[in-house]
């Protein structure tokens, strides 16, 4: 049992952490300057991201599947039914969440910080770092939300990963698969572990927040 479950847990963590990390780096890097600048298309870009935030994972799975399949534009890379495909799908699901929440969370305060940094002589990179540093608690909460989305996601990873035992099977697809077979005991064990991981991540974040405050 343990030999079957451990790789599933390990792969789940790798895929979720990696996709959350990539989505956070891209999402936050784009959101900080976006929250400061005012331009014509800003409202529309934000609206599109809000729509993408609530995009059904199976639809994202379908899009990534088509792009990575043999006939797709990235078909030559043979990424379909690999953990890479799962990371791509999850990254695309998490990125709009991180981006939109960061923009709405920083929109007021980032302009204030930017002005104060600028009059003290800060350059663009220093302003960027100051905003992230000042808003680290909000950003940390947003990253946790993104991680929650990634680790609990089942539709997209099932489609692009294929739920192949020992290769692309993660905790959520394991639960879905075992439930389908009627093996509720295994499904509940993995479900409990999933919940426990979320508890650990949240506790760590709260400890960090408490320390910082």
């Amino acid at each position: 049992m343990a030999s079957e479950i451990l790789p599933v847990i390990f792969l789940s963590l790798i895929v979720s952490f990696t996709s959350t990390f990539i989505a956070s780096v891209i999402g936050i890097s784009a959101a900080v300057p976006f929250s400061i600048k005012n331009f014509k298309l800003k409202k529309y870009i934000l609206r599109i991201n809000e729509v993408l935030m609530s995009m059904p994972p199976v639809l994202m799975g379908l899009i990534v599947y088509v792009v990575l399949s043999k006939e797709g534009s990235l078909g030559n890379y043979n990424l379909l039914f690999t953990p890479f495909a799962m990371i791509i799908a999850q990254t695309l699901l998490v990125m709009p969440i991180v981006f939109t929440l960061t923009v709405s969370s920083l929109s007021k305060v980032s302009v204030e910080i930017m002005k104060n940094c600028k009059v003290l002589g800060a350059g663009r990179f220093e302003i960027f770092i100051s905003i992230i540093n000042e808003c680290r608690m909000q950003i940390l909460s947003i990253i946790t939300t993104g991680f929650g989305r990634a680790i609990s996601e089942v539709g997209a990873v099932m489609m692009v990963g294929g739920n192949i035992k020992g290769h692309t099977r993660v905790m959520t697809t394991f639960i879905a698969f075992e439930t389908g077979k009627g093996n509720f005991r295994e499904a509940f064990i993995i479900g409990g572990i999933l919940l426990f991981i979320s508890l650990i991540v949240n506790t760590l974040i709260h400890c960090f927040k408490g320390e910082a405050e």
Binding site: K115, N116, G123, E134
Partner: protein, 208 residues
């Protein structure tokens, strides 16, 4: 540093808040800008500082269209203090300028002597009162010893004693060669320290 305003116009929500044809802020003077709320005082300072752009016109610094960002420092009307110690807040601009530790210590000693900052230095800046925050923001700006210092109501929340110390600090900055442009609603303060008093009305300079 001298500052020349050339045909500056700024409009917010179809209301013209600034419309200055030409004005020259001479080097090493203290200019005090007065005016009612919403007459464009802060907007003028923000444009000079480069944190806002005018709709039309330009600002010349020593007769050039741009200047080094280290040449100007500003204390905003509602200064944002960073979520760290008072000490870190005061030296933040010096860190941006890559000033060495010895020089930082020297300047700290010199400028913190104006206000009783001793017990405040290790306190989190977010936990300060309004007057204390203004003292930190003023010191943070003054310690940079920039050629042009812009102050937007720097003493509005300070008590009388600290206001006098702030005025002494501003006068000393002028004596060191800085040009100072400040906004205040306090006429007696304007008379005490201003070399020139400007009245902004409907976005225009009406009295000099």
């Amino acid at each position: 540093m001298s500052v020349r305003i050339c045909n500056i116009q700024k409009t917010y929500n179809s209301k013209r808040v600034l419309d200055i044809e030409n004005y020259h802020f001479k080097e090493n003077y203290i200019y005090v800008i007065r005016g009612k709320n919403g007459e464009g005082k802060s907007t003028l300072l923000n444009i000079i500082a480069g944190i806002e752009k005018p709709d039309y016109g330009e600002v010349l610094y020593d007769f050039k269209t741009d200047c080094l960002r280290y040449d100007i420092s500003m204390m905003l009307q509602k200064p944002y203090l960073f979520n760290t110690t008072v000490y870190e807040n005061i030296i933040m601009g010096l860190k941006y300028r890559k000033i060495n530790k010895n020089e930082i210590d020297k300047r700290l000693k010199r400028y913190c002597s104006y206000f009783k900052m001793g017990e405040l230095m290790n306190k989190n800046a977010k936990k300060l009162s309004g007057g204390e925050s203004q003292r930190v923001a003023l010191l943070r700006s003054a310690i940079l010893e920039s050629k042009l210092m812009l102050l937007d109501e720097p003493t509005s929340s300070m008590d009388y004693e600290n206001t006098l110390m702030a005025e002494k600090l501003i006068l000393d900055m002028k004596n060191k060669g800085s040009t100072i442009i400040m906004v205040t609603h306090d006429m007696s303060q304007a008379k005490r320290i201003g070399d020139k008093i400007i009245l902004l009305e409907d976005g225009r300079i009406n009295y000099d």
